[in-house]
């Protein structure tokens, strides 16, 4: 089984346990929505194509039985969502989102909407990814996305810092259990918060760079607020995409500033970047960040942005540098911006 599937299964089982649910007792109208990225293709599998006269597809076909049936070479990118369905015995809708680094956030947002529309009573949502394999990392490095700096050691991921130089790749998973309110109340579940809205928007700019003013990001935040019926002034905190890349962080700062320009509300927001601690989980990134946002709203604690030692002048918000902060929150946003300008935002409300 690919690593990302193993991560996702582990996270889903943890989430179910935390929700006080056992698979056999899940409601009939349960579904799964996951975001996961490019399948991991082991070069060793491709070496099966190599014969004495060089590589030949015919050799690979003749030796197909030797291929790992669970590897990315034979499998599709819905491996995680379908593995979850098999392990948990869930026969409801099963969706896999492919929106680059916004995949898990799309899965969470659409999972919420499937409950809201009455298609499901419970959704297992989130994402898992692992790009820490050579072929994928080569592809990312050729695009100049990850940091190659040798300064800073384990403080390399420095969102909004003057010396940031690219993202730091990571792997992992995050899974949330979304449940219709009445269903959760009936079984006495601990409700952390409400996933109240979702918005998405496209930059329509360049394939390899975000819109410099964060146009698509702003539109996604505005749509999430509208979907959640929130006024911008209701929001106290943003869990930023905050990749530590030279282009994302100022563009996201501008997008937040314009979305929350009324009354200079952006000056009162706490903005944090979990990637400073977790690294970039790529397609899965939005899931642990949404969990952190939910916990911030539930517990009134905003996690810090680490390694922000010399703020970039073009990044002028309150990024909660260094250490966590107590802050009572009525609502917060979780931002995820996918490569090519595919942006998605979750709005979280405190549950009274």
């Amino acid at each position: 089984m690919e690593k990302r599937t193993r991560f996702g299964l582990a996270a889903a089982l943890e989430a179910l346990a935390d929700a006080g649910l056992v698979p056999a007792e899940l409601p009939l109208r349960s579904g799964i929505a996951m975001g996961s990225g490019v399948p991991e293709r082991d070069p060793a599998d491709m070496h099966l194509a190599l014969g004495p006269n060089g590589p030949d597809w015919r050799l690979l076909h003749q030796r197909a039985a030797e291929l790992n049936p669970n590897s990315g070479l034979l499998n599709s990118n819905d491996h995680l969502s379908m593995s979850l369905a098999q392990v948990l015995g869930i026969n409801g809708p099963n969706l896999n989102f492919s929106t680059a680094c916004a995949g898990a956030t799309h899965a969470i947002g659409h999972g919420m909407r499937m409950i809201r529309r009455g298609e499901c009573d419970l959704m297992i949502v989130g994402g898992a990814d692992s790009v820490l394999n050579l072929p994928t990392m080569i592809g990312l490095h050729l695009l100049g996305a990850p940091s190659t700096a040798e300064r800073f050691g384990d403080r390399l991921c420095r969102p909004f810092d003057r010396d940031r130089s690219g993202f730091v790749a990571a792997e992992g998973a995050g899974v949330l259990i979304l449940e219709r309110e009445a269903h959760a109340q009936r079984r006495g579940a601990q409700i952390y918060a409400e996933i109240a809205g979702f918005g998405s928007g496209m930059d329509a700019y360049r394939i390899s760079a975000p819109h410099p003013e964060g146009l698509g990001a702003r539109l996604a935040m505005q749509r999430a607020l509208r979907d959640a019926r929130l006024d911008p002034a209701d929001v106290g905190h943003i869990n930023a995409h905050g990749t530590s890349t030279p282009l994302n962080d100022p563009a996201e700062t501008l997008a937040i500033s314009t979305t929350f320009a009324n009354g200079d509300h952006y000056r009162r927001l706490s903005v944090t970047a979990n990637k400073s601690m977790l690294g970039h989980l790529i397609a899965a990134a939005g899931a642990p960040e949404c969990i952190a946002t939910v916990l911030s709203v539930a517990d009134g604690i905003v996690p810090p942005t680490l390694n922000l030692e010399n703020p970039d002048p073009s990044c002028y918000l309150d990024y909660v540098p260094g250490s966590a902060r107590r802050q009572a929150l009525r609502a917060a946003l979780s931002n995820s911006f996918g490569f090519g300008g595919l942006n998605a935002v979750i709005a979280v409300k405190a549950y009274d």
Partner: protein
């Protein structure tokens, strides 16, 4: 939940081996499509394929250098979306801020590592470290072309789409989810129009291996095809344009018997669409993968058997694009008041005398999506 029935589906577009306009493709459906040679050695299974011609992107002002960073899937998607937007408002091609994009995408555009890397490594006698060879030989833009959602980014950037978006992957049910959620995006006023499309899986020599793996038997017997198919969901199209009347989604893990799941999903869909089985005049599906899928489809469609059209018989296996191709066929059929039905291997165009069509899309892993499309009578 019923608001989505006001959203019109219109302007279907396609790019496939049979052609790139519905007039010609509709007329050609009466004759069996003859697949051409697949782009891999003859000795491999399924050595034929329905190969689409290379899309022309120059009319959309796409830079040639940028085109070289795209896989054919992204190029086919771009031309499909471009043709749709031209048909919609030809004088206003590159700035549509409130237009959304909902797409069904295959898993990946590019096999990694490619055979070319292996060739270089072998040519050097395996002297170089494999990792070094891989780093040296990987194409500069492989990071873009292996990312399936690049197709969405190219469409948004080329045509100025700033609306909401989502991309679903990797099989035909994902294509139908793009239709369902695109319609909802318009109904819920996220956008006034949604471009909805899907594109087929890359034709590469891995595909027959994957087909054999997914089908659970030796040999990739289904003929793969290339296609992209698009349509527009609008709040303000013609009064008589068809709409999504109902839908249902589910999944049953691969190894098990599907039981009556498809029967239940069809019943839910009809109930949501306020229709009875007698209202259904056409049933379109992709080809099921597993024996259990085939049995469940046979059981579920028993009452509709004469109305069933397996679309892959003409278009080949086209992955997520099967769903949007099927919607395109329904929209074209309703416009012409005709439907294609089969008599053995023969296809025949007959009058369409019912108000709606049912779509059933299977994935090899067990996901199923069902949709009902027709004219809203309420």
């Amino acid at each position: 939940m019923s608001g989505f029935r006001t959203v019109k589906l219109h302007l279907p577009q396609l790019h496939c081996a049979m052609g790139d306009d519905w007039e010609n493709v509709w007329a050609a459906l009466g004759s069996p499509a003859v697949p051409g040679p697949a782009p891999w050695p003859d000795e491999l299974a399924a050595a034929s394929a329905h190969v689409a011609r290379e899309p022309e992107l120059a009319p959309y002002g796409v830079d040639r250098k940028l085109v070289r960073t795209m896989e054919k899937q992204a190029r086919m998607a771009l031309v499909g979306a471009g043709r749709l937007l031209e048909a919609w408002r030809p004088d206003h091609l590159a700035d549509r801020p409130e237009t959304g994009l909902f797409m069904g995408l295959p898993t990946i555009d590019e096999p990694l590592p490619s055979l070319a890397v292996l060739e270089s490594w072998h040519a050097a006698g395996g002297r170089d470290d494999w990792n070094t060879t891989l780093m040296r030989e990987t194409q500069p833009f492989s990071g873009l072309s292996l990312l399936n959602s690049s197709a969405c980014a190219h469409i948004a950037a080329t045509f100025g789409l700033n609306g909401p978006m989502a991309a679903y992957s990797p099989f035909a049910d994902a294509g139908l989810s793009a239709v369902i959620d695109g319609v909802h995006a318009v109904a819920e006023a996220e956008c006034s129009h949604a471009v909805i499309g899907a594109v087929s899986t890359k034709l590469d020599p891995l595909l027959p291996l994957q087909h054999a793996h997914w089908e659970g038997r030796a040999g990739g017997l289904r003929v793969p095809g290339e296609a992209s198919a698009f349509l527009l969901a609008s709040a303000d199209a013609g009064r008589n344009d068809p709409v999504l009347l109902g839908y249902a989604r589910g999944c049953h893990p691969l190894r098990d018997d599907h039981g009556d799941m498809l029967v239940d999903l069809i019943a839910q869909t009809l109930e949501m669409g306020r229709c009875t089985p007698t209202d259904v005049g056409w049933v379109l599906s992709n080809q099921p993968w597993q024996a259990a899928h085939k049995e469940s489809l046979h059981r579920a469609l028993f009452a509709f058997a004469p109305l069933h059209l397996p679309i892959e018989a003409r278009f080949g296996y086209v992955g997520p694009a099967a769903a949007t191709l099927a919607v395109g066929l329904v929209l074209e059929g309703m416009r012409r008041q005709r439907r294609w039905l089969t008599h053995g291997a023969r296809w025949e165009a007959l009058p369409m005398d019912a108000s709606c069509a049912l779509l059933v899309m299977y994935s090899p892993m067990g996901q199923i999506a069902v949709a009902l499309i027709g004219r809203d009578r309420s």
